[in-house]
């Protein structure tokens, strides 16, 4: 059985839980070892990599949008702690 993080909408679920394979996390594509540009093939790869990265970031921003606290100004202002240690 695979364990993965819960999806955002499941607010009452534990941080880690058993999940089926449909919830597998997609590892982020690594840029290491790819062509560094110069010839036509390399330039194409670079352009694709740039597009992939932008898509990933767009996706992340959309997800953040869904969970970011509303009334940020008020929220941040009210977060006051006593010094500790």
């Amino acid at each position: 059985m695979r364990i993965t993080r819960t999806r955002p909408e499941n607010s009452d679920l534990p941080i880690y839980q058993a999940a089926d394979s449909s919830q597998k996390q997609a590892p982020r594509k690594s840029g290491d070892g790819e062509g560094s540009g110069g010839d036509g093939e390399g330039a194409k790869k670079m352009a694709k990599k740039g597009k992939d990265l932008k898509e990933e970031m767009d996706n992340l921003v959309d997800e953040i949008d869904e969970v970011l606290e509303e009334n940020a100004e008020e929220f941040v202002k009210n977060y006051v702690q006593r010094g500790g240690e």
Partner: protein
């Protein structure tokens, strides 16, 4: 020969209740800690007789009042868990001190298990709050209004190593290690120079080089001398300069590299002088420079970047380890440390799935670009805070993890298991197993003792002055042959 680096972390969490304008942090903490349920649920005292936070490693005792709560308050504020951890109320913060471990992989597992314990109790506590109120917990170190709370590391050291040597060799290391340990922060506080984004949560708060205090005039090196073990043989270095990290990779490097450096100090392997001219000034300069290019003034007149100072330590570490047998985890730590320093020299952004401050910064910059926001806008400040939110569905670190933007060191299975199982190779095993097996017969606990109250007999305190005794291989037969606490006490007397 350096002694084994038994270690742990003590993380203070931020706490608030949304929707409660009269929120009182201390009662919130008591509610939170007591909401945590594990089986068995004994009422166990924390044994304050064994504590001495006013002993100074430089060899003196500081005047001051030692805190000792009454019995009822003690039980309400302290929980010792079946995994050997201490979960308690420290001033106005919940704190999770993980059990003693022998290697940094186990440390990552147990520090992350602490996040699960806090989140589980947060949910339980929430059910007890009035409608419209929600308790929130943050694994960070600052409210960004000048109030800081700590995330401490502790390492067992050989008493024969002089504290003076430790200070001299560790100071430049602590000032500069934040380049791969920082948790990142939007803005500056505590009267330091304004900045959009800085590497460390804590750097703004360090005001002196060496001292016993942890709450005012915070020192880069803390002199608290509480070995929680045989004080003739050991000291326990109490490190307060670090940030609360969420990234497994960052926690791994933070404790892993520090443990190697401490072994090198014990073995006299710090052979180069990398003293900084003004460490208190430098710690802020490093934090306030996310390019990692700024040069620091050295005592000998040279100017080195924080990464170059770290490379000096790395080169000494490679020389040190080349001539001795090195365990696979330390070898891996060295490789990852080297990779991180090379990446920081090329472009720090290469580490934006590994190191907290870079993970946070890339996320914030991506959001700012799409939303056309400026540094200092409330949403940007909210992103900073919410990175540290322990709710899996809201915390932005956990979002990055789900998206494959956070590199792993350990597995979810290991973290979940560590909520209930102590490490097997330190005295935490005996502590945790005794609590699991004998529950309410355990009267009191401290790191180096456990006491039993058995049927009208005087309280029997068992001392555990050796952190590497009381392991599974030492005590599993004893525990198996002692069905009740009375049997254990009898068998120990025999």
């Amino acid at each position: 020969m350096a002694i084994p680096k038994v270690m742990g972390t003590e993380v203070e969490y931020g706490i608030t209740v949304k929707g409660d304008p009269d929120f009182d942090p201390i009662s919130g903490c008591v509610l939170l800690v007591n909401a945590y349920r594990e089986d068995p649920t004994g009422e166990i005292l924390w044994d304050y007789d064994q504590e001495n936070p006013l002993a100074d490693a430089r060899g003196f005792q500081v005047d001051g009042e030692k805190y000792t709560p009454n019995q009822q308050e003690n039980i309400a504020r302290n929980k010792t868990l079946v995994n050997g951890a201490r979960y308690y109320v420290d001033h106005a913060h919940p704190e999770y001190s993980c059990p003693e471990v022998t290697n940094v992989r186990d440390l990552v597992v147990h520090e992350k298990a602490g996040e699960l314990v806090l989140e589980a109790s947060r949910r339980e506590a929430n059910a007890l709050l009035p409608e419209g109120c929600q308790m929130l917990i943050y694994k960070n170190n600052s409210d960004r209004k000048g109030n800081s709370y700590g995330s401490h590391e502790n390492y067992l050291m050989d008493r024969r190593t002089s504290f003076k040597q430790i200070v001299e060799h560790l100071m430049p290391f602590f000032v500069t290690r934040q380049v791969y340990c920082g948790a990142g922060k939007v803005g500056a506080e505590n009267r330091s120079q304004p900045v959009d984004f800085q590497i460390s949560q804590r750097a703004d708060f360090f005001e002196t080089e060496v001292a016993l205090d942890t709450m005012v005039k915070r020192p880069i090196i803390n002199t608290r001398d509480e070995p929680h073990a045989d004080r003739e043989k050991y000291r326990r270095l109490h490190v307060i300069v670090g940030d609360a990290n969420l990234s497994e990779y960052t926690i791994y490097l933070r404790n892993g590299v520090t443990a190697i450096i401490l072994s090198m100090i014990e073995d006299g392997a710090i052979t180069r002088d990398v003293s900084l001219r003004d460490p208190v000034k430098a710690i802020k300069e490093v934090s306030h420079d996310p390019t990692c290019r700024k040069e620091l003034a050295m005592d000998d007149g040279r100017h080195l970047t924080a990464v170059q100072v770290q490379r000096e330590y790395l080169e000494m570490a490679l020389a040190y380890t080349s001539s001795r047998k090195i365990d696979p985890v330390d070898k891996d730590v060295l490789e990852k440390w080297q990779e991180a320093l090379l990446a920081l020299e090329r472009d720090p952004r290469e580490l934006d799935t590994k190191i907290d401050w870079l993970m946070k910064r890339t996320m914030i910059e991506g959001f700012m670009e799409r939303k056309q926001l400026e540094w200092g806008s409330p949403q940007v400040e909210m992103l900073d805070l919410q990175y540290h939110d322990l709710r899996p569905e809201k915390g932005l670190y956990y979002l990055l993890l789900r998206q494959g933007r956070a590199e792993r060191i350990v597995t979810d299975e290991e973290i979940i298991a560590a909520v209930h199982l102590p490490p097997e190779d330190t005295r935490a095993y005996f502590r945790g197993e005794c609590i699991k097996k004998y529950g309410s017969a355990v009267f009191g606990v401290n790191w180096d003792s456990i006491s039993f109250g058995v049927d009208g007999e005087p309280i029997k305190r068992i001392l555990m002055a050796e952190p590497l005794k009381g392991t599974k291989s030492h005590v599993q037969d004893l525990l198996a042959n002692s069905p009740q606490a009375a049997d254990l006490v009898k068998n120990l007397r025999a």
